[in-house]
Amino acid sequence: MTSYRLSSGGLIDRTASLNFKFDGKSFTGHPGDTLASALIANGVHLMGRSFKYHRPRGVITAGAAEPNALVELREGGRKEANTRATMIELYEGLTAQSQNRWPSLDFDIGAINSLASSMFVAGFYYKTFMWPKSFWEKIYEPIIRKAAGLGTASKEADPDKYEKAYAHCDLLVIGSGPTGLMAALTAGRSGARVILADESARLGGSLLNEREEIDGDSGIAWADGVIAELGSMPNVTLMPRTTVFGWYDGNIFGAAERVNDHVIAPSPYEPRQRYWRIIAKKAVLAAGAEERPVAFGGNDIPGVMLASAMRTYANRYAAAAGKSVVVFTNNDSGYRTARDMKAHGVHVEAIVDSRSESKADAGGVPVLRGRRIADVGGKKLAAGIELDDHTHIGCDAVAMSGGWSPIVNLACHRGGRPAWNDQILGFVPPDTGKDFIVAGAAAGRMLLSECLADGARAGTLKGKAPATPKCRDEAFAIAPLWWVKESHGKAFIDYQNDSTAKDLPLAAREGYRDIELAKRYTTTGMATDQGKLGNVNAIAILAEATGKSMEQVGTTTFRPYYTPVSFGAFAGPFHGHHFQPVRKTPLHDWADELGAVFVETGLWMRSSWFPLEGEDWLAAASREVVATRERVGICDVSTLGKIDVQGKDAGAFLDKLYCNTFSTLAVGRARYGLMLREDGIVYDDGTTSRLADDHYVMTTTTANAAKVMAQMEFAHQALFPELDVTYVTVTEQWAQMAVAGPKARATLQKIVDGLEMNDQSVPYMAALEVTVLNGVPARLFRLSFSGEHAYELAVPADYGNMVARAVMQAGDEFGIVPYGVEALSIMRIEKGHVAGGELNGTTTAADLGLGKMMSSKKDYIGRMMAQRPGLTDPNRQCVVGIRPVDPQDRIRSGSHILKDGDRPSMAADQGYVCSVAWSPMLNMWIGLALIANGRARHGEVVQVWDGLRGHKVMGEICDPVHFDKENKRLHA
């Protein structure tokens, strides 16, 4: 293999060698190389296959816009598909695989697509879909599937860490070329807090790629001096390897820092990437400009690349793109490539200039004026060119320049549209306001001196801009040339998506004349490079085809992200175990000791059942129910929301929040409360207790705890600010356990201090402050969700496990069992108590059978709207019980209710089953349902139809209270 490494020059460290593998073959390069430059230096020009036609492809660019040289980098869990070889810093041990080829890059069967290329013309997806279905399924889809897809993702977990971080600054400078450096230096010297970010590993931007002269020295030397000075300033932060990918509201910029993409594996203490949010008082976009290709036949054959890329490989990486070069340009900048390559000792055959006149310095290279390249020969490497006048010229590399596009992406992220500039033939940025300045080449300034002056102005936060160093300018002139129509071969516009120049007029002829439609129809600009190279050419060709100006056609919308950002960076540390916090109740350890099975509900881990050897969940829950109803059980209810409400107007405030009244509640008593939304629908429920005249403790459902708190804050601060009340969430401060069953009182009596528990001292709905276990402060409530004689005992969180163990010990002689939320749920369904399934955001108090709770004597949230005719219609669906006619049948939650004999239809629908349970007390499945006018239909036999599971049984509508209708057990 021939070496294409130049014998001298470049910003590579020739004293060190780096070993790397590409498609299994071993190569070496040097520190300072990219994967692309190292491959070029090793004579590897074929780096990938195109998406649709599987054409052989080499690099086109030396930077972020690269559409062709996409590789799968690294292996195993660290594999990353579609990485640009031009942006990958070479490191020892790097491995990369080419994409889109089978069985090998060199011999690719998919290239047959190229022969069937009429199939892949613009809009082929749409057209193909119209063909007979069998044709599509058997022939086209398999071919497209085989051809489609870029790299493949790893199926292993990414072992590396990612971070998120914030930064604040007076001035953010995006890009470290001449403009950015001058801006950062000016602001840095004034003492401002400056962040200078650049996507490259080495700062300096275009100064690293070009042979410039600043301040009597080389551009690189000037850049290094400025960077050293910036590095010494404590108020300046340099962020290399950082792509600023988006501009957002509030002058916030998103950035991805590739902290450790340039090593084989990050140290265990460092992330691979960091996702930044940079909040900038002011920012400068100094992103430079992107060179454009020209559309001519074979403009994608390896060896054909942008003129600026070719000289970058030579100047910065000491890698020659070929042995014999032809330059094709429509502007002066192409001449630099001819001069630079010649200076590096590479033969330059000719400059083909589409213009008939030019003053640019060709450096002794022959110039063919007014001529254009029609076609490039060769397949896997350029082999000569044919001009539009049929002249042949031998060469193995072609440098092309179709002009420059200012990199305006970020400037357009907040909706601004760029404007066409006829002088430079490029879109220039819109007005971005005073806090975001676009400067230098990104603003369409094509001369180095303009860039330096622009940077100095942009970096001046107050006062007058400083003088800028003297430099040598390269004149810039350009004449339009988008497409050489004499070409025979395919002339590519969007390399990655294989859309060609001919596709655009075709799209226009077929009616897709708008740029946004043409984009989608031809897929131009829709690949991972988002049309960085091709879009302006596409706009120009579409403009010609539709007889419009560039301005009239306009651009497609620029959106973040400027370049692809890895999912790892977005996820940051929030994955796996850290995806969301885990809330454990204060009784978690106690429940765990007893073998609880925990189920995630929201963020909470709730003890759901306590299986004995060989029991499944239903067996365990059923046993727990029976034991509780026959003896005594204890259940962790700490997840219920608890809100402490205090103040002179605490009662008045609760009267506003609940539809029933709390200001009249006696001290030492609890009351069930129902909260409505302002539209009259039930919002939440729970018991609230009065501990003192000016002190209440509310409970909310587990699910609504946080929402109710926010609602209270709104009600107080926005609606009733005159009320003298404060409230704070104490959910996590209290451990709370339900102790239920005929032996509940006897059990608790053993641990409560100095209180003879009876129906007088602790009546139903009592709420008392007591102590337990010789002095542990506690709250004792006589409440029942199970329907049994029951209590809830609350103790400060840290005492929870100890007190729960003590209750177990006290209840031991009675045969106490721990029960979980499954048993709790069975018991509440047996008792017809409503919960989440019924409080589902569609039901009113009356629907739930709680209509009498609504006070008519006071104003409260939801009062007025609850009176609307639609919410008081007697035919509304209301809560009833449902049970199978044949006790062997099972009814399922979600089933719809149909009248006997009706066929399933929306019109015939009578309601649905909200909650079901296996009742160990009744030995059958029971449920609660919402059924139209249900209270008047007790005893009616209906169909319980489960269309989802294809299941239908006959059921009977009944009273929601399935068990102990007289509530005898409650007071037993």
């Binding site: 957002y248 509201d249 509030g250 916030i252 949010r277 909040i279 907040r414 302002e678 539209d679 926010a710 804050e713 709104f714 601060q717 926005a718 609606l719 600010p721 104003d859 009062r863 007025m864 709207m865 009176q867």
Partner: protein
């Protein structure tokens, strides 16, 4: 977007929860004749292009309900006051 909380200073929008139009006012009357006002209060919200006052809860911060005045098109923030102070200025100026 950044929101200048009068208690906490300038904080990122992720800390806040929006509730929309702050011009609505809960009717004082429970008389059936006020029903039209109640419908408006519960269901009618402005959603203009341009300057707009909105309820916002500093749910990830000081827990205060605030009124932010911002441009819905450019997202420029003009001011932010507590809902109590907003109420005091009558007609509202955040």
């Amino acid at each position: 977007m950044l929101i200048p909380c009068p208690h906490c200073g300038t904080r990122p929008v992720e800390e806040f929860t929006f509730l929309g139009d702050a011009s609505v006012k809960r009717p004082a009357s429970n008389d059936p004749s006020s029903m039209e006002q109640w419908y408006d209060y519960v269901y009618l919200r402005n959603n203009p292009k341009g300057r707009f006052d909105e309820f916002v809860h500093h749910s990830g911060g000081c827990r205060a309900w605030l009124v932010i005045s911002r441009d819905t098109e450019t997202h420029e923030v003009f001011g932010c006051v507590t809902v109590r102070d907003y109420g005091k200025t009558k007609g509202g100026k955040a």
